[in-house]
Symmetry: C2
Subunit: 528 residues, 2 copies
């Protein structure tokens, strides 16, 4: 009997999970290969429904399925993939409780690593913009929105109130449009529960680079979607690119700024960084594969989904959608099995069934089999199709139930506080921006990495610049060590990146690191 | 017309929320007083059902109600209370987005601050034990349990597997028993989904100081509960006190240790630390009140719930249960209204309706009106009573639905990764314990606060102690700066507390703080 072959699938999105599903089916009763799937989460996210978590019209866990239940015959390893060794035919994953490298050998490899939201090159976005890609992001966005509403309800400073009640979403593709629609519905829906908030104070803004949203659809449907969003109170800004972000502003390429505490960016995305590091042929940053999804020049390696550039017969390349990933998965699984058992390989070709985008609140736009549908009909179609495509009867049941409940009961607005502010944090500031004001409570210390700022002291009516600080210098230590309020105002004078430390962490470090304590004492002596 | 009085309620547990509810009712159409409630979360947690979140038999948000929906006529402020100024009649809350102190003045004050899980004086518990008090705790515990199962499924080191599959709960009162019952049901229930885990490998241990669990109930019911838990696989250790905790051990008072990665402690609890700081009469750490719930010697201040020692007529003092808090709330609200409008004050007296404790999986124990009930009858009673007591029809509906779904569908096992490991963290080690081993991957730097450890290097078969380190010294920096694996093993020689920093944070600090960099370079030079 031949040795049992090891098939390793990397990635638990549509591409990876449906490949493993098809492999399980092909396995039948035979045991001539074993399937292992590695993913950083122990669940599969049904992406198209993720925006609904913002409004709470489905429960937090309704859009996700535990991988172990979807793939009962697959060995699941919940780890990050840290490296792939094509020579040795093994991968290295992140360590678990024991800090040792963990290696998994393979005979056949399926790369379905997907893409990531990539804020590189966009100043301050990593620190201050909220991505919207996985379940944790969705929960974070929802909690953050409730948090700003709670604060707006008791805040009397007009400028701060306005920035708290301004919500900005960047990206006018399917994902951005669905997020802005759900966010808008939710915020305006729950606002009436907050006595201190008038609904007219709320601004929801969609930033889009093109001149109409939803470029994936026909012009007619795109314009229709715009009208629906406008009617519901979403302001759409066209030909508008996000350039930078700070704690309280979205900075646009034309130099204009929007004061906001909520900036969600669904763009730009790029393939998983792991793909970059592989010595395999790439095009547009994606893995180059042939029609059989084989990676060119590599034996026994297939790639599919958003990390691969998949030729799609006469249709150019396959777009990064769920329906294409699912069809690719079937082809990839078939070809893997053929490599093991022999037989004829399949070529991928899939015209696509249609395109659907939800606009929230009983409205959607769709193009199906050449027909254009919109409004409540498209919305019912959207729900029906996605419900039937959801893997597993238990999820379908839970989701249908959640939708039914949502029609009867008011939206939930519980804020789950989970994300502790990071101990050591990077922040970005733009010129003219204030880091903190004289008299504010002090809870962080700042170290300048790049850029400059002024230290300004106000005495009655007069203001005086005490110092101009640059890289390697720090500020804010006074309030932490011997005062509770800030003795001066810090104003950014050149675009500035700082490293900030929480009061408690700073205290612990200064107490236990004599060198650090001495250095701070010297600076403080000089600043007296 | 008389000035509108300001009634301020601190705390959003049973005591605070039901006081505000009764105040709203008393308000009627009149506007002679305004109600403000301050709480750190924007929701009320229905504590008795919190353990069910572990097993997922109810959804994450089913046990909690948004305060704004429960209290439509009350001004809700979602902040931490940082100080109470009895002289000026105002409170100070934590800052929001703007770092300035926020003050709320009052005419009448209701203190319902509850109690907190208090690990002070118990070495290492703050760092390594999981509390179980609020919604965040419950979600964290659930995710942690799924995380250890995922790791156990792929771990081949026998000792580590054993500690991953050992779950310890400290405290044999209602809360500890309900937590251990739900945890045990969940772990054993989902284990079959993990190919790599044999159910016989799982250990669930309940530590209890007394000689039988549930001291709140009669001996008969306590013993019955023990038998039920034993039958389901829970090991109960009596006269057993937790003394300390480390990353991978629970240390008992008799010196014995249990290797575990999951230690949940529901004890000990003490009143909110804010109560300590108030210049008001206290007894057993709680606020002393008279039968009318007035704080002795203070005018216009009432206290109730778990932060107060409430005389209960002939029954001694009121126990810290939800039903007592609710009855106290009615009396407090009545007396506050009387102070404003005039009238006769009420005295608190409540015999209690009964005691109920769930044992999970269709079983419970109860004492109601002198009758003792157990098994499925008590369980049905438990669910019915708690369902009816749940505030708000929408929650009742959601919870009933979740219970119905839970009977049909398999338990969910999605692990929501949310808690990032803290940047700067304190950890505790016991003698003989290893912090890390030679050859491990290095991801943290350690600074010794207290205690000592040996640096041991292995060369082939021989082992050599390179150094013995003490307070102020650090280790682990080598692997971060120029190697990826640890060059030596660190073994604790005297009980040791360390401060640890994540690799990335350490790198950022060393790069941007010249003083710190120099000090590390000197040490490294000496260690070459």
């Amino acid at each position: 009997m031949a040795a049992v072959k090891r098939v390793l699938v990397l990635g638990g999105g549509f591409a990876g999970v449906y490949t493993a599903m098809a492999l399980e089916k092909a396995l039948g009763g035979r045991e001539d290969f074993r399937i292992t799937l590695v993913n950083r989460e122990n669940y599969f996210v049904y992406q198209p429904m993720l925006p609904e978590i913002i409004s709470g019209s489905i429960g937090l866990f309704d859009t996700v399925s535990p991988l172990r239940r979807l793939l009962p015959k697959t060995e699941i390893q919940v780890r990050d993939v840290e490296g792939i060794d094509l020579e040795k035919k093994e991968i290295v994953t992140s360590p678990g409780f024991k800090p040792v490298a963990h290696r998994i050998p393979y005979d056949y490899l399926v790369l379905a690593l997907g893409n990531v939201t990539d804020f590189r090159g966009l100043t301050g976005l990593t620190q201050h913009a909220l991505p919207f890609k996985n379940l944790g992001d969705a929960l974070f966005v929802r909690n953050h929105i409730i948090h700003v509403l709670e604060e707006a309800a008791i805040e009397r400073d007009e400028a701060l109130r306005k920035s708290l009640l301004t919500f900005v979403v960047a990206g006018g593709g399917f994902s951005g449009v669905e997020v802005v629609a759900e966010l808008n519905d939710f915020v305006r829906g729950v606002a009436k529960t907050y006595h201190g908030i008038d609904r007219s104070e709320i601004n929801v803004i969609l930033l889009h680079g093109g001149d109409r949203i939803l470029p994936e659809l026909t012009e007619k449907l795109g314009l229709l979607a715009q009208r629906v969003l406008n009617r519901r109170g979403v302001e759409i800004r066209f030909k508008c690119y996000l350039a930078a972000a700070t704690t309280d502003e979205a900075v646009l390429k034309d130099g204009s700024r929007i004061a906001t505490r909520t900036l969600i960016s669904t763009v730009p995305s790029s393939p998983n960084p792991l793909v970059d590091s592989l010595p395999l042929p790439k095009e547009r940053g994606k893995l180059k594969v042939n029609g059989r999804l084989e990676v060119e020049g590599a034996d026994g390696i297939w790639a599919l989904g958003d990390c691969a550039l998949v030729p799609n017969g006469a249709n150019g390349f396959a777009p990064p959608t769920a329906q294409h990933a699912v069809q690719e998965a079937k082809v990839a699984a078939h070809n893997v099995v053929n490599a093991i058992r022999g037989g004829e390989s399949h070529e991928f070709s899939f015209p696509g069934l249609g395109k659907l985008g939800s606009l929230g609140h009983h409205s959607a736009v769709a193009e199906v089999f050449g027909f254009q549908v919109s409004g409540i009909l498209a919305w019912v179609m959207w729900r029906t199709i996605y419900l039937m495509k959801l893997p597993g009867w238990d999820r379908r049941f839970r989701t249908a139930l959640a939708w039914a409940v949502d029609m009867v009961l008011p939206p939930d607005l519980v804020q789950l506080k989970i994300a502790h502010s990071a101990g050591v944090m990077q922040e970005h500031y733009e010129p003219g921006q204030t880091v903190f004001r004289q008299g504010d409570l002090g809870d962080r210390l700042y170290i300048i990495i790049k850029g400059r700022c002024d230290v300004v002291r106000r005495d009655g009516d007069s203001e005086r610049v005490l110092a101009n600080l640059g890289p390697g210098e720090y500020f804010g230590e006074m309030a932490l060590l011997n005062q509770t309020t800030r003795g001066a105002t810090i104003q950014c004078s050149e675009p500035m990146d700082v490293l900030s430390l929480r009061k408690g962490d700073f205290g612990a470090l200064v107490t236990h690191l004599p060198a650090l304590r001495e250095s701070f004492e010297t600076v403080m002596e000089n600043r007296k």
